[in-house]
Symmetry: C2
């Protein structure tokens, strides 16, 4: 049976923003909760990001209001006003301060938000809030995702619930497209912040579907304290594990993806350098299409490593697909293409790269590039 | 009638490297020619690049030997030996010094070059050299290109002939995949070098098909002096124009491409900053797929601009497709999606971006991302 964190409820509806699927959700805490959030670094960030940063600044939130199907980005002054109206409408319905509401919007960029539809949909929602509504919230925030991403963990009597969405325009820089993490543990906002940053760095910030950092990336974490204290070391470990699991789900469900790709880089000068090389592999359209086609064209990995901005000692590089070595200590192995072709039939491809000269390591996740990615993105608004 | 530069001849054959198409060509100058060349900055550069750098170092070349269908990259010590064997075999046939032969190889990475096939194919080729063989050479160097790229220009009695190939793994950094420029003008190697660098920067180095810099990029220019002196200012202008024309052909014939995309950026802090933003637009899979699908999803341009590493004053940004403005001085225009959808039916899409705060400008070229790109690259070696 799924455990939900104490004192959190939610509900989801169709407000008619684009079609008749769930497109609006409210997540509510019975009491004000400690809060931390991380947002996109995209300079054309969405209007809700601007408002969200203001609202989380004091370290407290009590509700999250999210619409899908429209990102409210590049929408000028009206967009900013619409984001404020969304928080005010939800705050009025819940009887709380609008500065304790985090707004989020995800969907098409550059189209004005039909705010009147949201304003009409909100009255009466307070009565529909349910403790087991969170799984439906994970569904209501989806755009091109093919399934909701929702996970829970318990530590003693403490529960953490986390959801995420994101399938295209995914190379999070500070946070994924949208992710909300709720816990009934009692944790100060400053501690939440520290733990969230570390967890996001090795999870959401280590994923790329298409190298395009979204204008709407948000990860927000609320701790309402209703289940009491928790061991912070254990909490951080569980939180990190949870974020990695959701991040991998985002890569696995990347637009049009048929395979999850994990790249493990070791022997780099620094963790940052290792991550940069790993990201360049999962962002290479040549590598991604070869993996989609199950084509043992491993030379493309070498080319991508060679393009690294950092100096690479090419004589000490080794590359393997799981345990199939194609390049060892600077030289190609005997022709392994047949073995590699067999391996590539898997739906989870593991690429290990050893640069051989440093202590820096990183693991990143991505997905293949298929016909369906082209189809989904060639027809997105029409 | 096509004019060819005096004293240059060439021939092309099938050496059986992979299939029965033309895969080997020799370009020969009757006399030693002043020469300049630029090569890939990829650290896993091909064995022919290593040898080519050595051979052009003295500012002279007399022949170019190129095979397609195999890049001789990531092939270890044998690869380096094979590249030397190729130049020695060709030099012996032509009766010249092997240090005056530039070798090039293009095709799959990580597969050993079948050098014995090239060694068998060379004897007798000297007798087949023809002045009008250059157009066939442009064909023999093709891999996934769908047509040869060959252009000539005359300045008085001076002729310049230029060829290029490249369709995938194209984001040249210092040179395109392969390009050879031949002239009978008398120009010193130092002058050739200067002019070539400037021309390449605004042409081949301003093109991207897929953001992957190849391991084999080479542009080499030979001036054999047989037609005498030329005005260097006029020559540089014609050379630059010629390189831009070939660079655009490479983008237009990008793997799977259905549309040429030109991005003009102005108002940046520097030309380099403008080029970086332009490149990020033509490398965005979301922008590329939207253009393939003729989907007026211009918000993706805003998101890509917002991801610039350099600070952007978002309130002064304007974006238009040709003359259709979608965003002006920091705000969206009235909904232009219908007009934009109509415009996108063109096969040459022009995107103009004004950042509004500086004197830096750049023009870059790319292409859309289609189903065929995925098909070509999912099945490349199998």
């Amino acid at each position: 049976m799924t455990h939900f964190p104490k004192g959190f409820t939610s509900c989801s509806v169709n407000a008619g923003i684009k079609d008749d699927t769930l497109d609006f959700t409210i997540i509510y805490s019975d009491v004000r909760a400690s809060a931390a959030a991380m947002f996109t670094k995209n300079q054309f960030c969405g209007a809700p990001i601007v408002v969200g940063k203001e609202h989380v600044a004091d370290g407290y939130l009590q509700a999250i209001a999210v619409n899908s199907k429209n990102a409210n980005v590049a929408t000028g002054d009206k967009g900013l006003q619409d984001a404020r109206t969304m928080t005010e409408t939800v705050a009025a319905e819940l009887g709380i301060n609008s500065a304790d509401v985090l707004p989020s919007s995800t969907g098409v960029i550059g189209v004005s938000l039909p705010i009147e539809k949201i304003v009409s949909a909100v009255p009466g929602l307070k009565g529909q809030l349910k403790a087991d509504g969170l799984e439906q919230s994970a569904k209501a925030i989806m755009t091109t995702d093919t399934y909701p991403k929702f996970r829970t963990r318990t530590i003693g009597n403490i529960t953490i619930a986390a959801m995420a969405k994101g399938s295209g325009m995914i190379e999070p820089n500070m946070a994924t497209m949208l992710s909300y993490i709720l816990t009934d543990a009692k944790i100060e906002a400053a501690d939440l912040n520290k733990m969230l940053k570390k967890a996001v760095n090795v999870s959401f910030n280590s994923v790329s579907v298409d190298g395009d950092t979204s204008t709407s990336d948000t990860v927000a974490m609320l701790a309402n304290g209703l289940a009491g204290d928790v061991d912070l070391v254990e909490f951080e470990s569980v939180l990190t594990d949870l974020c990695i699991e959701l991040a991998k789900e985002i890569a696995r469900d990347g637009e049009g993806a048929t395979k999850l790709i994990e790249v493990q880089v070791s022997g780099a000068d620094s963790d940052a350098a290792a991550k940069k090389i790993g990201k360049s592999i999962i962002n290479s359209p040549l590598v991604k299409t070869a993996i989609f086609g199950e084509d043992p064209n491993w030379g493309r990995i070498m080319s991508t490593i060679g393009n690294s901005e950092d100096a690479v000692d090419t004589t000490s590089v080794s590359v393997s697909f799981a345990d199939v070595y194609v390049f060892k200590d600077g030289s190609p192995t005997e022709d392994k293409r047949a073995e590699l072709e067999e391996y590539l039939k898997t739906d989870e491809v593991l690429i290990k790269i050893s640069l051989g000269n440093g202590a820096g390591t990183a693991t990143v996740w991505g997905c293949d590039l298929s016909y369906d990615y082209v189809k989904i993105n060639g027809e997105y608004t029409t």
